[in-house]
Amino acid sequence: MATPEQQADILERLKNGVIEYDEDSVVAASREALDVGMDAYKAVMDGLAAGMDVVGEYFAKGEYFVPEVLMCADALYGGLNLLRPHIKMDAEKMIKGTVVIGTVEGDIHDIGKNLVKMMFEVAGFTVHDLGRDVPLDQFVDKYLETDADIVCMSAMMTTTMIGMPVVIEKVRAKNPRAKIMIGGAPINEDIAQKWGADGTGKDAPNALQEALNMIGVLRELSDQFKTERVQKEWGADGLLDASKT
């Protein structure tokens, strides 16, 4: 078993490896975490996710732009792929939830969608990724098939977001309490509200920022919520409200 100092050192290297987009270093630290018998979930949340949290701050401050964030995400996945199989799925702290996510029909921009997906994966959600250019009915079908907790739709183009209210309406028709998040460059709170979505980024132009902000919120949630409560009560509302604090 690793000493607290060893653990702190590994977490620091995981975190910095993500921040410095040094995938090799993240992979090495992840192997070491497993070798010394560290809790894989702790390594993900307090190492990798903590690093991404800082990346989000850098992005907000204009120190990092999208290319850097993408490289950080690659580094994070390098660690996540190794650590995830070792996370004990019955861990009490884990958020249990199912998400259906995709980029709407007519739009093939999936960078923002993929980052949001990553955040959900890090937090332990089961993610059904429908990909890009997804026919609107597929969101509804998958939602019903998987009994998902959340439906996430993304659109990069002003010309494609117009499909979103159609899906929101159809999902709501099946389940008025469904949680729906929409995001993408042209989406803002006003649009989300008007269309009846539960949430989106506060400020449209930077949907990526909101994806990055989610990481911190999900980390907090994982500490605060027990599985059962999460299943019952947690939703996009809570998450996004939390992201504003």
């Binding site: 999208v66 290319p67 993408l70 029909e105 999936d110 002003t158 460059a185 042209p186």
Partner: protein, 374 residues
């Protein structure tokens, strides 16, 4: 002496507008309305593939509302398609959906990679990523032998000719392509293009140099066919995505190269998203006019660039333009002019669902506020 709408527009684009001249209201990007298309009896999917219908749709915004340009094409797939990307055409108007043609398969695309069987999900992803990186590093884009007859480029060329013939004296005919960096993102995996801009800039520079050569040829064909002005839309290089440093080292030289080679008509550089950190660099591109969207603090930009032609910057989707009242649209136009725009011009394609009364309110507002006071 300004005679008509086209003269007003061309004078602004050439930087010759003076105090007391009318401020025009036009665009160099898609500016069609669903109302206009329905009046013509066309379906939304037809106007992207048929030169006659494309021209009619582009002309309808001028004919119905007095909008001061007619611009083709409407979708972002024309050039990428001519380089081998697959474009999908949707026909969902019956379901109440308007979907523009979209690239569904790029030339370099993850969906083209054959993953060996038996790999875990994580290993398969790593395999695909390595393969895409290798392809982008090794790949040489190739020009089609006869550009004027490749893909839909002949459709766009014919639509320009029709517009020129039928409206050319009265209204400015515009055409556009994406910028070299953004167009590369249409042809190859965007995520990797962005990462490699940081990791292997020389590889990206090589592809950019091809794209400048190619866009020069396409834009020159558009000009030859009769475009009175052209717009280059480099939104992929916005400061919402790329650092100003990378814009300067990677994208700006390509834009300068391209603008240096397009002759004979005014050239507009359009970038949307956050452009506040890069407007001075945009002004160094060699473009005759700059177009920015609603995220640009236009009054500041005006102060920073007193002698540059600025086109902007109302938001052509959502509220108020498409979802607000005519009074709100009136106020929006007033603000654009007060902030120092040389022409009222949208920050992106106009959303075709814009209500008729809001289009009318916008053009009416020009009569009230549209006088150059600079």
């Amino acid at each position: 002496m300004v005679n008509n709408s086209k003269d007003t527009v061309m004078k602004v684009l050439r930087g010759d507008a003076t105090r007391g001249d009318p401020v025009p209201n036009f665009s160099g990007m898609g500016s069609i309305t669903l109302y206009g298309i329905q009046q013509l009896g066309y379906r939304f999917n037809e106007i992207h593939v048929d030169a006659r219908k494309m021209a009619d749709a582009a002309a309808s915004t001028y004919r119905l509302f007095g909008f001061e340009s007619a611009v083709v094409p409407f979708d972002m797939g024309v050039v990428a398609e001519s380089l081998g990307a697959a474009v999908k055409y949707y026909d969902k108007a019956d379901q109440g959906q308007i979907i523009y043609p979209t690239m569904t398969r790029k030339v370099i695309d993850r969906a083209n990679v054959n993953v060996p069987e038996g790999l875990s999900e994580a290993d398969a992803k790593t395999f695909v990523m390595k393969e895409i990186e290798r392809q982008i590093t090794d790949y040489e884009l190739r020009m089609p032998p006869d550009i004027a007859h490749t893909g839909r480029i002949p459709v766009v060329l014919e639509a320009i000719r029709i517009l020129k013939r039928e409206l050319g004296d009265a209204v400015a005919v515009g055409s556009w392509t994406l910028g070299p960096f953004t167009e590369l993102g249409q042809v190859m995996d965007l995520e990797f293009l962005l990462k490699m801009s940081a990791k292997k800039p020389d590889v990206v520079k090589r592809h950019l140099s091809f794209m400048v050569d190619y866009l020069e040829k396409v834009l020159s064909l558009y000009v030859e066919a009769g475009a009175d002005f052209v717009t280059v839309r480099e939104m992929g290089a916005t400061s919402s995505i790329l650092s100003p440093r990378m814009f300067k080292s990677l994208v700006l030289p390509a834009l300068q190269d391209l603008f240096g080679r397009i002759k004979g008509v005014p050239r507009v550089l359009h970038i949307c998203g956050d452009t506040n950190p890069i407007v001075e660099l945009m002004a160094e591109s060699g473009a005759d006019a700059l177009s920015v969207d609603q995220m640009n603090r236009l009054n500041e930009t005006r102060a920073r660039l007193p002698n540059v032609v600025l086109l902007g910057n109302y938001k052509p989707f959502g509220a108020p333009f498409c979802e607000g009242t005519p009074e709100e649209v009136d106020a929006m136009i007033k603000e654009s002019i007060e902030q120092g725009a040389d022409a009222v011009w949208p920050g992106c394609d106009i959303w075709p669902v814009v209500p008729v009364e809001n289009m009318k309110a916008m053009m009416e507002a020009m009569k009230k506020y549209g006088v150059n006071s600079r």
